[in-house]
């Protein structure tokens, strides 16, 4: 296979503030009718003294075409799933974001609806939300849930608040102070637990990458509020001891939290609800194909077993005789975590995706995600300098974590360098240095939507990089060269004397 010669655009694009000139406008504000002006006179006269803005905002003055070109240029200096070749970013599930989802999400009866509208005027909205919730509860095997959380971490926080409310209701708020988290967990897990007022206790992984049962038994007790776990875990390995783990936690009165980041491996194959989990969040922007948008918006609905249902946020969407309504009847609710109902527009995309695949299709998506990841892992681990640590002989699920430790020892080329060199082939980098328990980690998640040709192109690129590492390591370490810009001065970006987070600050800095 011949690898392509990629070259990313570099428009040397100025900042928007450096474009345009005085009195230019990019948008014509709808004007007032003359009769209305006659009726209200000059509005500035009525603003209380001292509260009138006297200096216009220091915004740029740019025409429509200049704005359009500026941002299109910038878009061409960016890399997306639909515009790239393959985006094997582990843990992020960068699957194809179907176009039909976007088209439906742009429907005016989706976009132009206000969240405080009377229930009778938003029956369509409530219907799809209700059905989406039923769908995600079916996939996860839970009894009830909420759609409010705007992202995965937001879902985690909500889930931990539910656990907290449960213990509080059982008179154990003050005694149950600890959340147990494996050392392979996402950083959001400990951060969410701490935000909810808990201490975190880390448990090590065993040689299969699963939770070390002995270590777990030694830390549980009456102080345990719960355990946060993702299964399959961040190594892409299914923890076969899950039933025992759940039993250990439940025996001491703790609750089981499922981080749904890796749900894409198991849809229709097994369900967190059946594994013993009491609360789960799902990332619609991973498993249910909604776009990541350069960092968001996502959506992180939470599902619970019946024992936590009383504490769910309000309002709940309920149905009776085909009429949907919002119910606030939850005396023990934790309250609210979002100003309204969550990222509803994102949810419409997820609902569209669900229907596009159906129950059978979701299962096949998971199976193919797992097949793709094993195919890639199987070929990559044979390459010089790479290995597949933990879980010797075990199949991977949706993702696999390779180690470039041997390459680093042999040649000085690190996982980071491999990642950066991949960019030169027009391939997005895997996740690096995560999970923390794998040295020189390269976390690869191809997803089910990548054709075998894209997988092979990725594998071939890694192969060429591995060979290059052993023949000309400098060449790898100097990457990337074909991207808009090469390596950046991260120290300057963060140093108190040179940090620049806005145009305003930039203007005050010496050239």
């Amino acid at each position: 296979m011949t690898l392509r010669k990629y070259r990313q655009a570099d428009w040397e694009e100025p900042l928007i503030f450096e474009l345009g000139r005085e009195d230019r406008v990019g948008f014509d504000v709808p004007s007032l009718e003359p009769e209305l002006i006659d009726a209200v006179a000059d509005i500035t006269e009525f603003v209380p003294s001292g509260m009138l803005r006297t200096k216009p905002a220091g915004l740029p003055e740019v025409s429509e075409i200049e704005v359009l070109r500026h941002f299109i240029h910038l878009s061409q200096m960016n890399y997306g799933v639909s515009s790239g070749i393959i985006y094997p970013l582990g843990s992020c599930t960068m699957k194809y974001n179907p176009v039909v989802n976007e088209v439906l999400a742009g429907h005016p009866k989706m976009t132009e609806v206000h969240p405080e509208q009377d229930e009778s005027s938003v029956q369509g909205m409530l219907e799809f939300l209700y059905k989406l919730k039923s769908g995600f509860l079916e996939v996860t095997g839970m009894d009830d849930g909420t759609l409010q959380p705007a992202a995965g971490a937001h879902g985690e926080y909500t889930g931990i608040l539910l656990i907290r409310a449960y213990h509080e209701d059982h008179g154990e708020l003050d005694s149950r102070t600890e959340i147990i988290i494996p050392d392979s967990a996402h950083g959001t897990n400990p951060a969410s637990a701490i935000m909810a007022g808990y201490k975190t206790v880390e448990v090590p992984s065993n040689e299969d990458g699963g939770v070390d049962l002995g270590a777990l038994k030694s830390v549980v007790g009456p102080q345990t509020a719960g355990l946060m776990l993702t299964n399959p875990n961040t190594l892409g390995i299914f923890d076969e001891n899950i039933a025992e783990i759940a039993a250990i936690i439940h025996e001491v009165g703790g609750l089981m939290y499922y981080d749904g980041a890796n749900l894409n491996a198991v849809m229709g194959k097994c369900r967190p609800g059946d594994m013993g989990f009491d609360v789960v969040h799902v990332n619609l922007h991973k498993t249910f194909s909604t776009p990541h948008g350069g960092g968001g918006p996502g959506s992180g609905p939470v599902g619970v077993k019946a024992l936590l249902a009383d504490y769910l946020p309000v309002p709940d969407i309920v149905e009776s005789d085909g009429i949907y309504s919002l119910s606030y009847d939850k005396p023990k609710t934790i309250g609210k975590v979002h100003g309204y109902h969550g990222n509803t527009n994102v949810m419409l995309k997820a609902y569209t995706y669900m229907l596009s695949l159906g129950g059978e299709g979701l299962k096949e998506a998971s199976e193919l995600a797992v097949l793709n990841s094993n195919y890639v892992a199987y070929k990559l681990k044979e390459l010089r300098g790479l290995s597949l640590p933990f879980g010797e002989g075990k199949w991977r699920m949706h993702e696999a974590v390779l180690s470039a430790a041997e390459m680093e020892a042999d040649t000085g080329v690190r996982a980071l360098n491999v990642s950066k060199k991949l960019l030169d082939y027009g391939i997005h980098a895997p996740t690096t240095y995560f999970p923390l328990i794998v040295p020189e980690a390269l976390m690869v998640e191809p997803t089910e939507t990548e054709p075998i040709e894209a997988l092979d192109e990725f594998i071939e690129a890694v192969k060429e990089i591995s060979e290059l590492a052993y023949s000309d390591p400098e060449e790898v370490m100097n990457a990337p060269k074909n991207t808009t810009i090469g390596k950046l001065d991260e120290a300057k970006a963060a140093h108190p004397k040179t940090i620049c987070l806005s145009w305003r600050t930039y203007c005050t800095m010496a050239p």
Partner: protein, 460 residues
Amino acid sequence: MEKPHPYLPNSAPDVKEKMMDDIGIKSIDELYSDVPEELLYTGTLDIPGPYTEWEVRREVSGILEKNTSLLCPPFLGGGVWPHYVPVVVDEIIHRAEFLTSYTPYQPEITQGMLQVIFEYQSLLCELVGMEVGNASMYDWASALGEAARMTSRLTRKSTFLVPSIISPSRLAVLKSYAEPAGIKTVQVDYDKTTGLLDVEDLKENMDDDTAGVYIENPSYLGFIEENVEDIAEVAHDSKALFVVGVDPISLGLIKPPGEYGADLVIGEGQPLGNHMNYGGPLLGLFACKSDPKMIRQMPGRLIGLTEALDRPKRGFTMTLQTREQHIRREKATSNICSNQALCAAAGAVYLSLMGPQGMKELSEVVASRARYAIRRINNLPGVRAPIFSSFHFKEFTVRFSGITVEEVNRGLLDRQLHGGKSLVNEFPDLDETALYCVTELHTKKDIDLLVSSLAEVLEG
């Protein structure tokens, strides 16, 4: 499934077989051999489909069509508002390079999004009068929760003062964020005539434990808070931080919080180029002063301007990531990971299109239309608008007598108009009062139609 699905390229039998052959398996089930048998799900998920593209469009549009058609945008505000979204905004945020990209952790290949967010941060700062903006929070409500926690971290104190006139939803979210951190939320009284924050009551509530004082401008009920400098002084005298929540559309007309002593500015960025979408996704604004101590305590992502290492070329990167969960884990300033980046991008395009003149004009047009609506509605028999004497920006209270808000709204809905939000449950002291909102999208004709319809409804 019987035939290959368009989203699943390797579902074609020959490809699937080749891949299975390569890794040495005969059946996909072998890959799931680590899942204990009793945990394997043997049923079929009860989810309709698979639907073809045409079928799914029919199905989902059919559901959405059940939402009522209105003759003009609803007269609703309170934290999400009907404003016009210029077509260029949607054109840009639908670019696949932005829409389908991940967080820019690899800066070399994502300079585009990084620059967009840097520009968003910069434009936000210009609008609100601050020096540092973050890359976005989920919404105004969660930004408020994070702001309370930030003031507590910075001052090592744990009481947060908020106005009594505040959106109950926003207050509920604030409590969800504050209580687990041991932060107590206290509500300050308001002047019954003007609605303005009661500065004397504020002073009485200030003590050694006050971490922050929060106001909203415009307030939840639409009036402009005037005693801002006094409030800032009271807060700063006690070494508490002054936090201001804004509707950014007001800032073409109203003085920005940076000019009256705010330490932190938050707000709802939805009207900056984002559709209402039944309340999400929104855009939590979050900005502070250029104080290293404050910046270190900021939640969320920050994009910084820097240089390439190999040549003198400007570049952008995520910075101060040591505040964030993926590096700092349990010591992070917040757990936020995914944010509302694309909504922030919409905000950047919007503010670039509007410019200083556009924002000024828009602000004036909105306030003028609201003033016109207030005068017309207030002339209706048995109706008072607004109930407070202060200057209102685009939202205002309307109090009815002899008829309930519910009856009024039902009457309006029958006429394909959506009235204001009922405040009957939220503020029982205000009797039968609703919160109306008028924007640039409500023409004189729309407002006149509202008024004549209200008159009809009132007559019964």
